[in-house]
Every structure is written in structure tokens, then in C-alpha cells.
């Protein structure tokens, strides 16, 4: 099912966090949202599943606006979510956690049926966590836990799945497992990702966010250019082809500008002077910082 966020602006505590962001996820595609910390990825994602109502703009899943046309339940029957860290405070087992995915399909007082049990079994199996069904969520590794949350989203039987940095804190094997699983699903997947190489390897299209705006979008090869990465992250980048996957691989150099932390012992520079030329080598910056360390230590003593 297609997801279309159109010119979405979102305010939190009176402050604009996302400004006129648009996103189209074609049915069945895997869409990545990348960008630095604080660029608005999580906020935009929260607007896709009715956790945050946009101040302006619309979000449609299928042909229906999730706020104007769909109910909370209707939206939950179309979009399932895997959040960054939503471990409950209580000792739920894996199976109980996945059963929560049935909530939007159940009316008040409606009991679980054999069909629900089958759906939960199937979700556990697809996510590869059947063997963990009777374990407590809190006793699992981070990778196992993320797969359980994916299983819960699967049990929701939705055509759309939205994820917020699902690979955080996972080792590389768990990251590869998880994204492999997601890309094999027949549903539309929209996921925020930090790791640009993983985004390049698994996503069909990428949206790049910076300062609350979508500043680039499209197929991976068009988006993940050294120029865009430098512009968004302030880090020098080189792109090539990953011989194992045939997808784009990115390697990183130093920052294209000095760190924004104030450097002791230096007078104020205006912005132009502060911005080091792109050609400047990374070690020069490190030397620059190391030189000033003793001064700071002396200050501390």
C-alpha cells in the first residue's frame, strides 16, 4: 500500500521540527530516511502513524488521510510500527509482546481466537523468533528483541510497516539479518536509518533530512553522492561499488569543517574563516585539537 506524506510540517512544544516534508513510498518498496541526529527523522516517522498530528500537510496511507478519513484503529490496521526502544516496564514474554499486534483487530471484550493464535505463530516464525516465544522480552539480546518487535508488527497484518532506526545497538550480523528480513517482506517499509551503507544496501529509495527538511530524495545512486553527504553531515565521503553486493558503498574521510564545540585558546572567528577548506586533511584538525588539550587540563587542575 502506498504512503504519501504531502508537505508535512510538525511542531513540538511550539517549535517547528519538520518543515514541509514530502515523501512517497510506492506499494511494496523499502524506503530509507537518513540524516543527522536531530534532523527530524523520528518526528516525521511519528506523523506517519498518528502519534503526532502535523500542523500542516497531510499523510495518506492507501487513498485515505490517516487523520481525516481513518480512525485510530483504521490507521493501525494499515500501518504497524517498530519503535527505537519500547520495552515495557513489565515482564512480558515474547509471545505476549507479539500478541499486542492483534489489538487493532479486536473489539472491546473480544477474545483471542484460534485464527489470532495462528497469526501470532506465523509472525513469530517469519521473524525467526519462534524458539524464543516463552522467553521474557527483557532476557533477550538487542537483535533478538528487535526481531520480536518486527514480529509484533507482522502480527498486526498491515500493508505498511514503519521503523525508527531498527538497527541501533545491533551487531553487524543482527543488522544484516534484520534488514534482510524487512526487505524480504511483501509490505511497504519506511525506515529511519543511521548507517548509510546499510541504507544503500537495502533501500529502494532514500529521503535525506536535514534541519527538519527533506533536502534530497530518490534512488540510492542519485541520493548518496559525496556532495550530498558532505552537505548534510559535514563529513568527507567517497562512494564506490561494494563488490559483495553491487550496491553503493561509502567510505568516510574527516570533517569538512571544524567541530562546532568552542576551541579553547582561540579567539572568535567569523563563520567564513572558521570553515576550513574542504581540501584540508583530517590529521590537521586532530593536531589542532590535541594542541589545546593541555590548556584545558591545566584549567581543570
Amino acid at each position: 500500500m502506498r504512503v504519501h506524506a504531502d508537505q508535512v510540517s510538525i511542531d513540538l512544544d511550539g517549535k517547528r521540527i519538520v518543515e514541509k516534508a514530502s515523501l512517497i513510498a510506492p506499494s511494496g518498496a523499502m524506503i530509507g530516511i537518513i540524516g543527522p541526529n536531530g534532523s527530524g527523522k523520528t518526528t516525521l516517522i511519528r506523523a506517519l502513524y498518528r502519534a503526532l498530528k502535523p500542523a500542516e500537510g497531510t499523510v495518506a496511507v492507501g487513498n485515505d488521510d490517516i487523520w481525516d478519513t481513518l480512525s485510530a484503529r483504521g490507521s493501525a490496521q494499515r500501518t504497524a510500527v517498530v519503535l527505537q526502544d519500547d520495552s515495557p516496564e513489565f515482564a512480558f514474554t515474547v509471545r505476549e509482546t507479539v500478541e499486542a499486534g492483534r489489538v487493532p483487530h479486536k473489539k472491546l471484550f473480544e477474545r483471542s481466537t484460534a485464527a489470532d493464535d495462528d497469526i501470532v505463530d506465523k509472525a513469530l516464525e517469519t521473524a525467526g523468533v519462534s524458539a524464543l516465544a516463552d522467553r521474557l522480552l527483557g532476557s533477550l539480546s538487542g537483535g533478538e528483541r528487535q526481531r520480536v518487535f518486527v514480529a509484533r508488527a507482522l502480527a498486526q497484518l498491515t500493508p505498511v510497516m514503519v521503523l525508527d532506526e531498527p538497527t541501533n545497538h545491533l551487531d553487524i550480523a543482527a543488522q544484516v539479518d534484520l534488514l534482510g528480513l524487512l526487505s524480504s517482506l511483501p509490505v511497504t517499509v519506511i525506515t529511519a536509518l543511521h548507517d548509510l551503507n546499510l541504507a544503500a544496501a537495502y533501500c529502494d529509495e532514500l529521503y535525506v533530512m536535514a534541519h527538519g527538511r527533506v533536502i534530497a530524495s530518490g534512488p540510492v545512486v542519485d541520493v548518496l553522492t559525496p556532495a550530498t553527504i558532505e552537505r548534510v553531515y559535514g563529513v568527507r565521503a567517497h562512494t564506490g561499488i561494494n563488490p559483495l553486493t553491487g550496491r553503493i558503498a561509502i567510505t568516510f574521510g574527516g570533517r569538512t569543517e571544524p567541530p562546532s564545540i568552542p576551541q579553547p585558546g582561540k579567539q572568535h572567528h567569523d563563520n567564513d574563516q572558521n570553515r576550513a577548506p574542504t581540501s584540508e586533511r583530517f590529521p590537521a584538525h586532530r593536531l589542532d585539537r590535541v594542541e589545546h588539550r593541555p590548556g584545558r587540563l591545566r584549567f581543570l587542575h
Binding site: R46, Y49, R50, A51, S71, A72, R73, G74, S75, A76, Q77, T79, A80, V81, L83, D86, S87, P88, E89, F90, A91, F92, T93, E96, T97, E99, A100, G101, R102, V103, P104, L108, F109, G128, V129, A131, L132, D134, R135, L136, G138, S139, E144, R147, Q156, V162, A173, A174, V176, D177, G180, L181, S183, S184, A201, Y202, L244, T245, G246, R247
Partner: protein
């Protein structure tokens, strides 16, 4: 597609198929537990009615009860019947209702504030009821327009709950930490007034305040019971029907929203119901601590975290526990009755120490 090459087969789970389910968490085990608890409740109730200055045998107790339910039985004397029907049975039923209501309320509050320390004290309900009661005791009913202690305590509970919820609100919802902080702030503010009133109270009034604060079911009458039973029964049915959604809410507001819940409305319904239940109970019996805190934890140890099971277990467990506490309260130092809140605290605090110790063990084991 190159993607398929990158899609390695998922790693097999490294640990063997161990389980750490709670002992009564499957459907069959849970039904067994419910039967055990219902039978225990019957046994403890019979004990509770039989124990006292005039001891009565279980046979006498049941004959008397059955006689009132329309089964004729001549074996009961009028005096015995009087003791059972007008004194001990209402007291026993009140203790069950109070324990059940407080335990269920604690379960819901812990789920809504996502905090294991959640109980009716934490969100201001009990302190609010306390202020209402203390105003009437110290300043007299005239100060609040002729209200009884019970009515004033109920209004106090509701007012404190409303203040807590007004303060804890943020963007149409009640974030867990904010709600807890609001409840604590309201609770302390109310306590300031309560303590101030106590400093101007006479020794006789202070004694009554103390007894109210520690709670008692000794004043039970048949008149108190129907309304309390109705509130608890209706509340319980609604809560069990919403058990699945409560599980969703325990994962946090955003997850609950993604599961199709109107989070703000659901939180308000849950807490409004809980405030009504505890407000009604506390207004009648005074402040009784630890039941709302301890029983839900005990229930989770038995049946796991699923609220559909925890709520039922808390209901029955809370009733049994408070009934036992009442038996201890009236038999420990005869003929004096000690306040029931002393008994619940004396049992509850060691339980928490044990819980801490066993939790520590479990964490180091995994």
C-alpha cells in the same frame, strides 16, 4: 536482485528452548489458579466470619448465610445468626471489596504510569481523601457544609485526582513521568494542609485522624456494600474487557497509538475509573497502604505481565490478602483492634525487600 545475496539466513537462536514464563501463565494453569484463589477466598471468608469473641464453626457460619439466602436451616440460634449476618458478614464482604478494589487500582495505575511504584497514594487519591476526612474530624462537618467524613473524603479524593490530572497533562496525553511528578507534588501539598490541621487538633481528634489514616473495616454495615460492590464490579468488567489494550499501553504512548488506541482518552478513562473505585473505597475505610502496591507485583509473579490475567488475579488476591490482614488486625491484641494499615504495611514492606532480593538474583543470573 543483489539484495537476496545479502539476505543471509537468520542466525539460529543461540540458547536452547528455555522458557521463563510465570508459573500460571498458560490458559489451563491460569484457570487452575483462579479456582485455587476462589476456593481460598471461600475458606478465608468462612474463617473470618467464624473468628471472634464468640467463635463460630464453619457449619454455623454457612447455615446462617444459607438461611438468609432462602435455604431454611434450624440449627442456628438467633444470637449466632445476629453475629454472622449483621456484624461479621458485612465486615468480611467489605474487606474483600476493599482489597480487590485497591489491588486492581494499583495494577492499572502501574500500567498507566509505567512505574512499579504506582498505587493510589502516588496519584494523590489517598492524600486527597485524607484531607477531606481530617477537615471534617478537626473543623467539624459545618466547615464543609455538613458533609459526613465519608462524603468529604470522597470529594477530597476526586479533587486531588483532578488536580493531578490537570497538572500531568501534556499535548492531550499524560506522559508517565509527568503524571507521577504531578501526583507526588499534589500529594505533598495536600499533606501540608493535613499536617497543619493536625497541629491545631485536640488529642481526641488526633486519635481519630490516626485511625482514619491507617484504615479499618470494623465499621462495616450493609448500607456501604451495594454501591461499593457495584463500582468494583462494573469497573472490573470494563477493565478486563480492556486488558489487551492495557498491554498495548504498557509499551508506551507511541506504541499504543500505533496499535490504534486513542491514548489520551484511554488514559483518562482508566484513571477516572480507578479514581472512582479507590475514592469510594478509601472514603469508607480510610487509608490502607501496600495492598495496591504489593498485590499487583505478586499477581505478576504468578501469572506474568498480561493484564487480562493480572487484573483477575489481583482482584482475588487483593480480597484474600485484606481479609487475612483484617483477621490479624482483630485477633493480635484482643480485645483491642489494631488498624489494618499497620498489618498491611508490616507484611508489605518485608515482601518488597524479598522482591528486591529475588529480582537482583534473577538479573545476575541472566
Amino acid at each position: 536482485m543483489v539484495r537476496s545475496e545479502f539476505t543471509a539466513t537468520p542466525r539460529a537462536p543461540q540458547r536452547s528452548q528455555r522458557h521463563d514464563r510465570a508459573p500460571f501463565s498458560s490458559a489451563r494453569e491460569f484457570r487452575l489458579l483462579v479456582v485455587i484463589l476462589v476456593v481460598s477466598l471461600g475458606v478465608v471468608s468462612t474463617l473470618s466470619i467464624g473468628i471472634g469473641t464468640v467463635p463460630l464453626s464453619p457449619g454455623t457460619v454457612w447455615s446462617s448465610v444459607l438461611a438468609h439466602l432462602g435455604v431454611p436451616d434450624a440449627a442456628v440460634s438467633a444470637a449466632e445468626d445476629q453475629i454472622v449476618w449483621t456484624v461479621r458478614l458485612p465486615r468480611t464482604l467489605l474487606a474483600i471489596l476493599v482489597g480487590a478494589a485497591l489491588a486492581v487500582a494499583g495494577t492499572v495505575i502501574q500500567a498507566v504510569v509505567r512505574n512499579p511504584l504506582g498505587d493510589p497514594y502516588l496519584i494523590g487519591i489517598v492524600p486527597g481523601a485524607g484531607l477531606g476526612a481530617v477537615i471534617v474530624i478537626v473543623l467539624g462537618a459545618g466547615a464543609v457544609g455538613g458533609l459526613s467524613i465519608t462524603a468529604a473524603a470522597f470529594i477530597g479524593a476526586m479533587a486531588a485526582f483532578i488536580a493531578t490530572f490537570a497538572l500531568g497533562r501534556q499535548q492531550g496525553r499524560w506522559p508517565a513521568v509527568r503524571l507521577v511528578l504531578a501526583g507526588v507534588a499534589v500529594g505533598y501539598l495536600i499533606s501540608a494542609f493535613t499536617y497543619f490541621l493536625q497541629t491545631v487538633a485536640t488529642p481526641g481528634q488526633l486519635q481519630r485522624v490516626l485511625f482514619w489514616t491507617l484504615g479499618s473495616v470494623s465499621g462495616a454495615t450493609w448500607e456501604d456494600l451495594p454501591i461499593l460492590a457495584l463500582v468494583v464490579a462494573v469497573g472490573m468488567v470494563w477493565l478486563v474487557g480492556n486488558g489487551r489494550r492495557l498491554n498495548g499501553l504498557a509499551g508506551g504512548a507511541d506504541l499504543a497509538a500505533s496499535l490504534g488506541l486513542d491514548v489520551g482518552r484511554f488514559q483518562l478513562q482508566l484513571m477516572g475509573l480507578v479514581a472512582l473505585m479507590t475514592g469510594a473505597v478509601v472514603a469508607v475505610v480510610g487509608g490502607i497502604g501496600f495492598v495496591g502496591l504489593m498485590i499487583p507485583h505478586l499477581a505478576r509473579l504468578l501469572v506474568g505481565a498480561d493484564h487480562r490475567r493480572v487484573l483477575v488475579t489481583s482482584l482475588l488476591g487483593g480480597g484474600i490478602f485484606l481479609l487475612l490482614a483484617d483477621i490479624v488486625a482483630r485477633t493480635l491484641l484482643p480485645p483491642t483492634e489494631i488498624p489494618i494499615g499497620i498489618v498491611t504495611a508490616a507484611v508489605g514492606a518485608p515482601f518488597f525487600i524479598w522482591l528486591l532480593a529475588s529480582l537482583g538474583k534473577r538479573e545476575s543470573a541472566s
